[in-house]
């Protein structure tokens, strides 16, 4: 029953995503003019969840709600020490639960998104976050997930979990998040 429910939600999500992806970025009209032009790349649905235009409103709301539901049963964040990409023992349950979910459903895909605190350059942090994401992917595959089910990506310092400075904030931002794709 639960599986059926989840499958249904996934189908709705897929339909919503498909509707969403039919809204081409370019539809927002790169109008040429001497004073420059704008291309609106936001509101692509999925994890955006922000203010939606009339073009994308329905799809956007559906997708974010559905994602929240499917993810709720699994822990999805791994935190790291300063300047480290070692997955600590205390996060082994997170890895195990997600690896099990992946190995029991080969059609399931996840992105592992690496994040850093906000000190240093955007690009070097992007690479540090990538290293964290790849470290989590490696742990998941060691526990039975197939490499093709996983993609390691990074947001570097661009998407902090919490704002602010100081070690308490930095520690919450040095993380990898597992997201269904």
């Amino acid at each position: 029953m639960k599986t059926i429910h989840r499958t249904l939600l996934t189908a709705i999500a897929a339909a919503a995503l498909a509707a969403c992806s039919s809204v081409k970025l370019d539809d927002a009209a790169p109008v040429e003019s001497r004073t420059g032009s704008a291309v609106v790349a936001g509101n692509t649905g999925a994890a955006n969840g922000g203010a939606a235009t009339s073009q994308t409103r329905v799809a956007s709301v559906d997708v974010s709600n559905t994602n929240a539901t499917t993810l709720s049963s699994l822990p999805r964040v791994v935190y790291f020490d300063y300047d480290s990409y070692v997955v600590k023992d205390e996060f082994r349950p997170v890895i195990e639960a997600n690896a099990k979910a992946l190995s029991s459903n080969q059609t399931k895909h996840m992105a592992v998104e690496g994040h850093t605190d906000d000190r240093g350059s955007s690009e070097y942090n992007l690479a540090l976050g990538q290293r964290r994401a790849e470290s989590v992917v490696k742990s998941l595959t060691l526990l039975g997930a197939a490499p093709a089910q996983l993609e390691a990506v990074s947001f570097g310092k661009e998407r902090p979990a919490v704002q602010g400075e100081g070690e308490a904030a930095y520690a919450k931002n040095r993380r990898a998040e597992l997201a269904s794709r």
């Binding site: 790169p30 704008a38 291309v39 609106v40 240093g120 992007l126 990538q130 290293r131 947001f155 661009e158």
Partner: protein, 424 residues
């Protein structure tokens, strides 16, 4: 051609000169700044087109670090014969006057003349008929004319800059005049945008956008808004840097695992891996002669700057001072490296003379969150991001750090600045 030795240089400026006109706050620090005293008089009908060309020129020249602005009262147009004795008594070595006139077709005729006060001679002038919207640009071109005439170097004030603003959840890639004014939107997104890079012809911007929920490298035609993803491989795609001929870009890709350097065609064709390391290799930038790639790598433990032949090959380490050096940018003449160094908890813009072996790096700011330096194409100024009062702002600085100016901003965070090439 003017011999710059004919001017008496003002030396020993040790004070902060408040800028009476500019939207900039220009900080002058230290002694020994070699600056030429120049007066930019108010033009006749200066405000007629809605912006004051003389104020724009004054701010540009002051920000360049090469000039000391001498106060001037009253208007002076290009047809008047200035009283040189009077200007000499005000210690001005050069003088600019001009005028704005509205034409029958609604455009404005902007004229100016530059004089050598010491010799009492006319150094030339120009006129341009422009729309009101282009008056500022025309004024920047006058600043470039004056700068080149008096220093021998090309001016960079009519060039454009690109940067990213963040306001709430919105990220915007903007293109603006070199003084940060007249900003126009190239791209709006609900997801981060980082690492803009101008194509050598100034027509396109490469950048990293997260609009596909991961880092993807795009190339974007600024005039038309046409854009294409040139690197959207599995994993992260980032850190675009144009080759000097505009045909290729160096990028950082994680498609084979790790963050590694590749070169890829400008339309995304034939990606080729440049090096194989177990470490992070990223933030590549070509030297202007196309021979070298400078980049950040942590192959030695902490991040340092290395360089290797642009076609790949053995890397050599370039920075040795400190244990954390990132974000390299090389001057167009290949003699100076600018980058960000971490000392304690402070991230500071530093410069290193590459032309003499064993030179020591010099930190040129006393701020603590400097990021993303980019050379002006004449190699005389750097633009970078830093934090002030908790917000991210853009600054320009001379290479010795003595003359700094903060670009205007309202409420958004400004980041990732890059100075555009000549021509627009």
């Amino acid at each position: 051609m003017l011999d710059r030795r004919q001017f008496s240089f003002a030396a020993g400026l040790g004070l902060v000169a408040p800028s009476a006109f500019a939207q900039f706050r220009v900080e002058i620090s230290g002694v020994g700044a070699t600056q030429l005293p120049i007066a930019i008089a108010r033009f006749r009908n200066d405000d007629q087109g809605g912006s004051s060309p003389s104020a724009v020129i004054r701010a540009d020249l002051e920000r360049s670090g090469a000039f000391k602005i001498v106060d001037s009262a009253g208007n002076l147009d290009e047809t008047t014969a200035p009283n040189m004795a009077e200007w000499r008594s005000r210690a001005a070595d050069a003088l600019v006057g001009g005028s704005v006139s509205r034409l029958a077709d609604g455009r404005y005729d902007l004229r100016f003349k530059l004089w050598d006060v010491v010799k009492g001679s006319d150094l030339g002038g120009q006129s341009a008929a422009v729309d009101a919207a282009e008056l500022r640009l025309a004024a920047h071109r006058i600043a470039d004319f004056v700068y080149e005439k008096l220093t021998g170097d090309k001016g960079v004030f009519s060039n454009r800059i690109a940067y990213v603003t963040k306001a709430g959840p919105r990220y915007t890639l903007r293109v603006a005049d070199a003084d940060g004014e007249n900003g126009q939107v190239a791209l709006n997104s609900g997801q981060p945008i980082i690492s803009p890079a101008w194509s050598p012809n100034g027509k396109e911007l490469a950048y990293v956008s997260f609009e596909r929920q991961k880092a993807v490298v795009f190339v974007h035609n600024v005039a038309t808004g046409e854009r294409r993803a040139i690197a959207d491989f599995r994993g992260s795609n980032s850190a675009p840097a144009w080759s000097p001929d505009g045909q290729h870009l160096a990028v950082t890709l994680s498609r084979d695992g790790g963050s590694q350097l590749f070169v890829i065609g400008k339309n995304g064709e034939s990606p080729r891996r440049l090096a194989s390391s177990a470490a992070i290799d990223t933030e590549a930038e070509f030297s202007a002669d196309g021979r070298w790639l400078y980049f950040t790598s942590d192959r030695g433990g902490g991040p340092q700057i290395y360089r290797m032949p642009a076609s790949g090959g053995n890397a050599e380490r370039v920075t040795f001072g400190g244990n954390y050096n990132i974000s390299p940018t090389v001057s167009p003449d290949g003699r100076t490296l600018a980058y960000v160094t971490r000392a304690g908890n402070a991230f500071r813009l530093s410069v290193l003379d590459l032309s003499s072996g064993g030179a020591q790096p010099v930190a040129i700011t006393d701020s603590s969150d400097d990021e993303h330096p980019s050379f002006a194409p004449n190699g005389r100024l750097l633009i970078y991001a830093t934090k002030a009062q908790g917000r991210s702002v853009l600054m320009t600085s001379t290479l010795d750090g003595k003359i700094k100016a903060r670009l205007p901003s309202q409420t958004a965070d400004l980041r990732e600045p890059v100075w555009g090439p000549y021509g627009r």
